[in-house]
């Protein structure tokens, strides 16, 4: 499905050296049925998912992250305004300041529920329930890797402890999630037995975590769908991005019946991180535009990413979904031509949904004459199509020799147009010497 909104063409010349905003026809986007849209599926929660935003927990595990309390509050308030359902915080057992920060954020009175993420251990749980959080996300490793090399506990011990911790947290009136760690390298029978046991004692959510980033989309679908048949509680999922599948895996989890997705801003977390909040929004708004746009303030994505990027001293990746500098830039001639006719031709995302604009590149060797024609009109000049094709050839000739800026292209167009007015024969004239 593609967005059905009318695209907002924008006017005016941008300051960028080599590209320009071009006004586009405001034709209504078409909404014909897509033969590959999955047919209705009662398992799918693609149109009713919730976000557990973990920039202040998983994100704090990012190599460059150091959030002091004022920054944590700023991030928490921005995420709350954006509309996330939950905000997850570092365990108060990690350090004294982590505990104090957790208490302070609980007192902000945000709409989002506040969770903290703790080891499956009664001592940690007891510290956490005193902080004022709405719930605890409890976790323990279940793969043989983690059972042997991390905590050293067997499945019987894990199950017993999990039930104790869950019953304790529930006795305090708080929400509780129980998650395995490294779920995709855990034994399936062990996992299902454990989840079934915690479901029976009334856990609110079970969690599946691809802790090492090894899961592929169809593995995720299969595991979540199997689990959906075993437990009646909600299913939360957490995907690392080591092999570049964290957004796709989240989507497939929702298709299979997961209810909650863990995200962080720009995906920051251990190693190269987890499902990014902005990237997930790009994925979800394509599938379920009404739900996503009514629930989340998509135009805030850029400011939230800028806030976190500055706090952890990274640049937004050039190829980031939505906010990468080139996410809405069109360059090849056939792309530019079609975009100028109807943006839906080469855009599945509408930049105006995110408070952003598109650019059509018309100063390169790949330029087509349709983009130049639009630029000619934007400069207030009049030419026939044949004349536009001729001046396009001149632009491409120069672009073959060196990178050219918008000013170069404009100079060629103006010079060509001036010569037309002077009645000088246009054919065969030398390319004007313009400099960037």
């Amino acid at each position: 499905m593609c967005p059905t909104e009318t695209s907002n063409g924008t006017n005016g010349v941008a300051n960028e050296a080599d590209r320009v905003e071009i006004p586009v026809a405001s034709a209504p986007r078409q909404n014909r049925s897509n033969p590959y849209q999955p047919v209705g599926d009662y398992l799918s929660n693609v149109g009713r998912f919730k976000i557990i935003e973990s920039t202040l927990r998983e994100g704090e595990q990012f190599a460059n992250a150091y959030f002091d309390l004022p920054m944590k509050i700023k991030i928490a308030k921005a995420l709350d305004a954006f509309g996330v359902d939950y905000i997850e915080l570092t365990s108060p057992a990690a350090s004294e300041q982590s505990r104090a920060d957790c208490e302070a954020i609980c007192k902000l009175g945000l709409k989002a529920k506040i969770l903290t993420h703790v080891r499956c251990d009664m001592r940690d749980a007891k510290i956490a329930v005193e902080t004022g959080v709405d719930g605890l996300d409890v976790v323990i490793g279940t793969s043989h890797f983690l059972r042997e090399h991390s905590h050293g506990k067997d499945m019987a011990y894990i199950t017993k402890t999990a039930i104790e911790v869950i019953e304790y947290v529930k006795s305090k009136g708080l929400e509780v999630r129980f998650s395995s760690e490294d779920s995709f390298r855990s034994d399936l029978v062990d996992l299902l037995s454990l989840y079934s046991a915690v479901d029976k004692v009334g856990v609110n959510r079970v969690g599946i975590a691809d802790t090492v980033g090894c899961a592929s989309p169809r593995q995720v679908y299969d595991l979540v769908r199997t689990l959906r048949g075993v437990v009646s509680c909600d299913i939360e999922t957490h995907f690392h991005n080591d092999t570049g599948c964290s957004i796709a895996n989240a989507y497939c989890a929702l298709e299979a019946g997961a209810t909650h997705i863990d995200t962080s801003v720009l995906g920051i977390g251990e190693r190269n991180g987890i499902t990014p909040l902005g990237g997930l929004m790009a994925r979800m708004v394509v599938g379920e535009p009404e739900y996503v746009k009514s629930k989340y303030k998509l135009h805030m994505i850029k400011e939230i990413e800028d806030l976190v990027a500055e706090a952890v001293e990274v640049n937004t990746p050039f190829n980031n979904p939505i906010t990468g500098f080139c996410a809405f830039t069109h360059k090849a001639g056939i792309h530019a031509k079609a975009i100028l006719n109807n943006p839906s031709t080469y855009e599945i995302l509408n930049p105006s949904d995110f408070g952003l604009t598109r650019y059509v590149h018309f100063a390169s060797r790949l330029t087509g004459w349709n983009a130049v024609k639009t630029r000619v009109a934007q400069l207030g000049l009049t030419m026939t199509d044949e004349q536009v094709k001729e001046v396009t050839a001149k632009i491409k000739t120069l672009a073959d020799i060196r990178p050219i800026a918008i000013d170069d292209a404009d100079s060629i167009i103006r010079s060509y147009h001036f010569n037309l007015q002077e009645q000088v024969p246009a054919a065969g004239e030398p390319v004007p010497q313009v400099v960037a």
Copy 2:
């Protein structure tokens, strides 16, 4: 499945301000069966895929790209040395220089086959076959968006022209692929009819392209699997990354029987680009380590990415798979502890496969005492576990107040150790005033 190689621990202190390489136990990685590894599937080409590397075609459509011939040759040679199967170049019909560059690259005598990407048009095909390429990648838009707003042709015209072009290219003894554009918004019956027709006239490959980046992994699987039953030729796939699924979609396409994946270095291309070569390697080496490591020079990924990043003036994204600066950095206490016991606990990729090393962060409020214990040994000091726990608490106390560098943590450790030697009671002493 996880890599089976022995991990190469590295020694020595890195120059980074706040992290350090830590030698790790060289325990052989375990290779127990993973319950979520898909069972044998005769459709899957995950263990025998080929790469069509399109940095010099799709990548040239990236907003910042301007490759002169010397740079194109450098990139082509690097990709050839890496082991890609095909190198795809911009259409020689795009500009005179594009044609000359194409001819020059064909004369390099690379192992990789050279392709050029042309519109489904006899004029373009005639220019292309004269350049010396091994094959043509022919493309035309088939969605209603592109048929109405781009070329304006109907399916009967498309089929007729496709057959003409394919027969012409084959008559010249060259390889030919026919691809639809915007396949995931095209009518399924139209698509299958078209592919079936070109398969019958002996096309070498058909291509599926997610031109706008709207496809989700299970849609990809379904379409490729359906197509696999319709044509007998190879199947190439091309995935844009607008919604963050380009790597996952490529993987699912291979699972469904696709044979070729289009990539570009760092994923550069129109808008935010396509399946990145490095990211695809991260995904594939997890599933099929033997095939991937025997065929591709994985240790070249970083230098190829650096070459292209410099050429197009972007930074490698901080969270890039494999080469992002933090891809092998471990920070949280429980992660660091387990990694020190066995890297497979929190790593699905082995950094030494890519000529890289891992880092374990031990100077933060999330630090665990196991990481500090390793650091103590690395500094040549001796402490009991109780003493290490005590000095860890001191490090965390300072890290709660401000970001600390490795020097800070080392100063605390050395100061603590010095006091132990002096027989000064260790408990209750003030945190030393260290500065970064």
